[in-house]
Every structure is written in structure tokens, then in C-alpha cells.
Symmetry: C2
Subunit: 460 residues, 2 copies
């Protein structure tokens, strides 16, 4: 059927109201990482549940999690035979420090230059609200949705979703769906919506090199005892070659090479090396030889030192041989690296590189695989058509260098592909002071999602 | 003349009194590093000045230093034609933390197992008092000294003597002497007094590697930007080869090779590798190939990382590319390395090793040369005879791996050789909890110094 004009008009005709509502949601300081905000978490969950009910959703509820922040749920399931979408988002936000760096207070939402400024504006309250508005527009105009939906909005995304896996396992039947739609990613660029079909995986480890029992006087002992900081430097320096390639034996095992077609597709995306460099503030770009910048961050695995410490780091000098030296490392992984095998290979390489006179211990952390999502799934094709209808262009098919663990959980535990379609812009300061969300993308995003519901519903 | 028995008897017959006085001196918490102890510094200086007067010294005074801790002075100059000794020590002490690790409170001097326990017992209040008692024994028995002496006792040794150089320059004439005697070093081992004739020099620098303008998300940017922590590790790892030798071009320029005779002399000293290893608590000893442990710490230069830090070092993980990585480095130097040239060579090597994509800055610090003292100076020969008379053995001639900058100041600015003759034991916990000083060495040390005065006075 033709897309009902009333749905679109419902959304475009009430933009002042939507912005006011987004402001209410953003004014609640739902910082999941800080226990002082526990009551705010409950307020934010309650606000959202109320908004789902007002949108016409049914069986809306707030599920408390023991030792965690509640999950907000709600659904509409009146079209047997039509597909079902699981709509995921999160209502928790990052901490705000340094608060002094905000132009306006982080929980006093302020509109300027066409954007709303507040913590959580684009990550992810604004994007969650887009989904709710799209549903409401259908229910309040046509009186029904073109498919079935189930909302799952969590409050622990910014702290690593420690309880979500267990929650999903316990509610598997209720969450059964054909695909998930997640609006928690950016567009590729202004005016260029993106469907993200690949995410890198992640594994972490910590290394400790131990030498003397305590810090030693470098005059009394220096020259006769191995220095753990030297040993750690040697171990870490040996993990890459001068061309930026990881030297760990087996590290690249399983890496699916980028296809010529994919490389060509990425090469056609508008990309400014100068703009990217300016974003980083680094003196220059640097990476694995033979790959472009986009290929390096989207399609190649990395091994990074995230932190490093040893000995005396205060002001002035203290001439010691440190007792210990430590480093935190993480690897970004690509398909089809096995995260456990990568962790083991890195740990083995570190142990093998330990020089005489010191001992090394490797403490492995979590390991999550990279993900490649289908590009030809009917839900993805529906998203593509919805974007084309609203943005006068095809979405960019992109990968991302970061990780969204819930995508793996949906795929592995519920057998669901995810459609990653978000409308934030890459420079909207997620996790940083002056986070904001452009209101034109907020409104056009809601319209795009309303269209997606129909395109996918019609496809079956 | 024969050594007057009365001098020796004066010292041995009053040991309870000397221990009581040492306790008074030690009870004053004269911690030069902590401004809260400024009044204690003045009390300690006043106590010492009073003790010098009581010993019969003349023109005793406390010289205040602007922005510093006072210098205590006093002298006896009634033998024109006889040599003059400059007697140096310090009345300030190290901080006491961790205070909870002390068996008895650091400023409640306590005698147990033949030693007095308190901060400053061996470093250096006990050793300063030995000098005072040796002078008093002569003046109260014979009525005169066998030579002239001038005391210079500072209150800033533990904070690097920031004002002593200027003080010495301003009082050069008053401090004119033939040699300095410094009792601020340990014996080689129990029962083995030592004359220290060599000290390593020291130079410091700090290295900063800069990459992105701020910490970057390792998912969004990882692979396309050089990581400053990797760059620092590579730079530091390149400063030594696997055999423990410093690879900096020019680093060993000027190093005077150890002579076969000196190596043979050191090899004859009682030395336990197992005991040394146990002191360090390290898994194994390690150092430059081709040298023994004593040679490595006394006679070979080193380059050590004293501290290292970059990125996220808190609990848990934070997957970032750090904006910066820093290290503190220091070199222990041997004769005749030029400290300024070594600093420049290390800085050049670091700059030359900077990999692409980051910038490196080197911040050079102080640089003090190594020192070799004459072994045949009449004051040294007198010390040798005094030790032989009191300890039934020749002193060990040793070098030390640490630095005592005042020795260089005396040599350079006053043209004075120093006799380094101290009676602490190497394991008396200087700078650590439970610092102590063995009372038999305290008393025999005072007698040895009283004998030294005569041996040197007689030599001219």
C-alpha cells in the first residue's frame, strides 16, 4: 500500500511538542555509572514507560533487575503473520565530567543552531524517542502498525550491559522477532544516512612485569637488576613492526580479507583525510601499510596499549628501579578472528618476549567477536527503501570500528539480525561535553523509521 | 706522639650519656621535605649548635638560609701550621611514611638488640654526633685538638641541598681546609669499615610523546592513528640491547675502563650474590655482560627508566588511544663521562628513534659528574691508619653506586678532597621504616674519628 500521508503529517505537524518531550526526557540525569543517580534511573525508566503507554503501546512495564537498572518494555502484536521487529535502545547516559566544559548545563536541555544540547541528546534518548514517535504516528492516525513491534530499552548500556544477557535469556520467548532495529549509531555524514553492517569485536588483557620486591635505589642497585619498565617497553615494542602490523604469531589467523568490491565501495564514500586528521588532533595519520584510513578502522584488527604505568610518576625525580610495570591492552577484532584464540596468541607472545631477570603475568579479560550483518535481509532492504524515500539518496553501507555487544547477543541468543540505522551525526559529542542532536535529523529520523515499519511490513 | 689513652677512655667511659644525647637529637622530627616541620628544623639546628658549644667548639652559630633550612657551624682553629679538616654532615631526615610499618614510632628513639631505632639514627644524626664526640674527647682531656676543624652541618641534604652551593660560595674563605671528612656512608659489611673513593654521577631527563589532542576512542580511531604508548615503548626498548648494554651512540664515550688491579681488589672483597639477590627480592640478577655485580653497580654507567605513564590506569578498562605517554629517566655515570654530553646523547637518540605519527619532546634535568677521590692523600692515609688501629683490619676501599653531590661541590668549589668514612651498616634501613644504628659501631666510629684527627695532625 502507499505510505499513508497522515503518518508523516502527524510527525511533521507536532515538532514543537516532540522537542518539548525530548527536553523532559533529557532533563532526567540518568547516569548509570554513578550510584548517586539510582533514583534518576528509575525516574527515567518511569518517564519512558509512560511515554510508551501514551504512544498506544500495550503491556508496557518496567522490569527491575537485581543489582541493576530496570529494563523498559512494551509492544504491539496484533498482526499475526506480519513480521515482528525488536526495537532496542537505552535510556542511560554517560557521566558529564568535566562539567565546567559544557556551554549550558548538561541536564538543562537547550536548543541552539538547530540542535538540542544535553547529555544523552544523541546517545541515546533522542534516538529512542524517534522510535516511539514513529509507532505513535501509526497508531494515532491509521490506528494500527504495519507490523508487530517489541520495545527493549535498557539502562545499562553505558556500563557495559552487565545484566542484559541474562535478561534476554530469561525472556527469550517474549523477545522473539524477525529482526532488531537499533538506532544508536551515527549517520555517515550530514545528509548521508548510513546502514551499519559491520562492527569490530574487542578483547582485553592486562600485563604485569615484576622485578624487585619493592622499588630499589637506582644508585645502590642500578646496573645489577633488570628494570621491569625496560622489560615492559621491550615486550610492548615487539608487538608491532615499524610498518604498524601486529607481529603476534597467529594474530591475523581467520581474518577475512576485504574484498575488492567492498574496498571499492568504501573508496567511493566521501571521506576527507584532512578532516579526519583534524578530528584527532594528531600530528599525522599512521596505520598498517597497504590500507586506507577507512579500511584500517573498519576492516583491520588492531592491538592497542590503552594504559601504561610504572614507578615514580609524580613531580620532580625519584631515582628508583620500579618494582613493577603494568599495561592495559585491547584488540579490536574483525571477522572471522576467534577472540579467545587472539587473546591466547597475544598472551603467549607476551610471555615468550619476557626478558631475563623479571617475571611477566598476563591477565586476560573479556572477548567479543566482530560482527558482519546481512545486507540483503528483508528488514535491511526495507530500511534502504525508507531512507531513499525520505533522504533522496541511498543509505551509505558502512562498517564501524567500535563494538555494540548487544548486536552479538541478539544474533547469538535470539538468532536475530540487527538493522543499525541511527540519525546522530559523527561530531555530536557523544560521551563528551556539549553533546547535542540536530533536530532536523531527529524529526526526519522518526519519519524514516515510520516508513521502515511499512516497508518491512509490506515485504511479507 | 702516641695516641692519648685519656681520649679513648673519655669516649668509652660515657657511653650511656652519648646514647641518651643521641636519643634527644633523634626525638626532634627534623623532616626537611615537609613544611609542617619547619619549627622542628630550627629546634634540631639549635640542639646541635648547643651540643657543639658544649663540646668546646668556638664561634658556634646557626646561619639561616633564605627560603631554606639553617646551616650549623662551629670550629676550632688554634694550631696554625697544622692541617684543617672540614667536617660535613646533615641534621635533616627523610619522611617516615609508611609510619604504620615502624615497629616503634620513628621519633621515639628505642634501643633494642644493640641498636638505636629512630628516623635519622644512621642517616645522619648518629654519624654527625660521632664527629662532635671525637672533638669533645680531645678538648676535655688533652685540652686541645691535634689539628684544626670546621663544622658544616646542613639541613637540606634529603631534599637535594638546593641552597648549599650558594652558601659555600659565599663562605669560601671560612671553609678553607685541607680535606673534608664526611661520615654519611655505610661500612662495607659488619666488622669491615670502608673508605669510599668513588661515587657515580647522575643525570635526569623526562620524555613526552604526544599523539592525538586528547584520548581517542580506540574503536572509532584505532588503526589509523599512531599510539603514543607504542611509540614510547619502542623508543625506550631501543635504548638497551638484549645483553643489557646501553645502545645510545656516544654513551660510553669517556668511560675510564676498570683497571685489572681495581677489578682484582673488588673481587677479593667478601660478596654474596645470593645475599644481594635476596636484598632486592628480584627473580634474578641481570646486568651488562662481562662484569660482576660489584663492577656493574660501582664502575659501570646505567640508563634507567624511573617512571612511566600513559592513558588509563584505573580499575577496569577504558578502550582509548592515549593522547600522551611520558617517562622519567636517569643515568648513573662513571669517570670520566661528561654529564652534559651524556644528556645530549640520550636526548638525541630518543629524538632520532621517534616513529612516524607522533612527536617527542625531551626535557633534560640536572647533571652531576661521577667522582674519583684520591687514595693516597695524607688525610686518606690517616683514616686508613685510624681504622687499622681501632678495627684490627685495613679498611675496604670501595666505590658506591649512588651520588653525594656535596663531594663534587667540595672538590670543584673549595679544591678539597673528601674522606668518606662512615660507620652505618648497609642494612640499617636508611630512608625506610625501622631505620637504626648499631651502638657499638657508633662508639667505635667516634673513637676512630678521634684517632683520625691525630693521625692526620701528626702527618704534617
Amino acid at each position: 500500500m502507499a505510505f499513508p500521508a497522515a503518518v508523516d503529517e502527524y510527525l511533521t505537524g507536532r515538532c514543537a511538542r516532540w522537542i518539548g518531550e525530548l527536553g523532559e526526557f533529557l532533563a532526567i540525569p540518568s547516569i548509570s555509572a554513578l550510584s548517586a543517580h539510582r533514583a534518576d534511573m528509575e525516574r527515567a525508566a518511569a518517564w519512558l514507560a509512560g511515554r510508551l503507554r501514551a504512544a498506544g503501546l500495550e503491556e508496557v512495564r518496567v522490569d527491575p533487575l537485581p543489582d541493576g537498572h530496570p529494563v523498559v518494555r512494551g509492544g504491539w502484536h496484533h498482526l499475526p503473520g506480519a513480521p515482528t521487529l525488536l526495537l532496542y535502545g537505552h535510556y542511560d547516559v554517560q557521566p558529564v565530567d568535566p562539567e565546567s566544559a559544557w556551554t549550558t548545563p548538561p541536564f538543562t536541555p537547550t536548543v541552539r543552531d538547530g540542535a538540542i544540547y544535553a547529555r544523552g541528546a544523541s546517545d541515546d534518548k533522542g534516538q529512542v524517542l524517534m522510535q516511539v514517535l514513529a509507532v505513535e504516528a501509526w497508531l494515532r492516525t491509521v490506528g494500527r502498525l504495519p507490523l508487530n513491534v517489541e520495545f527493549l530499552v535498557e539502562g545499562e548500556e553505558e556500563i557495559g550491559s552487565p545484566h542484559l544477557g541474562a535478561y534476554i535469556a530469561a525472556h527469550q520467548a517474549e523477545l522473539a522477532a524477525d529482526a532488531a532495529v537499533i538506532s544508536d549509531t551515527p549517520m555517515y555524514a550530514p545528509g548521508v544516512p548510513a546502514l551499519c553492517y559491520g562492527l569490530r569485536g574487542l578483547c582485553n588483557l592486562e600485563v604485569e612485569v615484576r622485578g624487585p620486591a619493592q622499588d630499589l635505589h637506582s644508585g645502590v642497585y642500578g646496573g645489577a637488576v633488570a628494570n621491569p619498565a625496560h622489560a615492559l617497553a621491550a615486550i610492548l615494542a615487539g608487538l608491532h613492526d615499524a610498518a604498524g602490523r601486529v607481529t603476534v604469531p597467529g594474530f591475523y589467523d581467520g581474518v577475512v580479507p576485504l574484498s575488492p568490491a567492498e574496498r571499492e565501495e568504501w573508496a567511493r564514500l566521501p571521506f576527507s583525510e584532512a578532516g579526519f586528521l583534524a578530528e584527532t588532533g594528531a600530528p599525522d595519520l599512521f596505520g598498517e601499510a597497504g590500507y586506507t584510513t577507512l579500511e584500517r578502522i573498519w576492516g583491520r584488527p588492531t592491538l592497542e596499549v590503552n594504559g601504561l604505568w610504572s614507578g615514580f610518576t609524580g613531580e620532580g625525580r625519584k631515582t628508583i628501579i620500579p618494582a613493577r610495570a603494568r599495561a592495559k591492552l585491547s584488540c579490536r577484532l574483525v571477522p572471522d578472528q576467534d577472540p579467545g584464540q587472539v587473546l591466547a596468541a597475544v598472551a603467549d607472545a607476551i610471555r615468550a618476549a619476557c626478558p631475563p631477570g623479571v617475571e611477566v603475568e598476563v591477565l586476560p579479560g573479556e572477548a567479543d567477536p566482530a560482527i558482519l550483518l546481512p545486507r540483503e535481509h528483508p528488514a535491511v532492504l526495507a530500511a534502504r527503501r525508507a531512507v531513499a524515500a525520505l533522504w533522496d539518496r541511498e543509505p551509505a553501507f558502512i562498517r564501524m570500528g567500535g563494538s555494540i555487544p548487544v548486536v552479538d547477543t541478539f544474533q547469538r541468543n535470539l538468532g536475530l539480525p540487527s538493522v543499525l540505522l541511527g540519525f546522530a551525526l559523527p561530531d555530536e559529542h557523544f560521551h563528551a561535553p556539549d553533546e547535542h542532536f540536530h533536530l532536523d535529523n531527529f524529526l526526519r529520523g522518526a519519519r524514516t523509521l515510520a516508513r521502515l515499519w511499512q516497508e518491512y511490513g509490506d515485504s511479507r
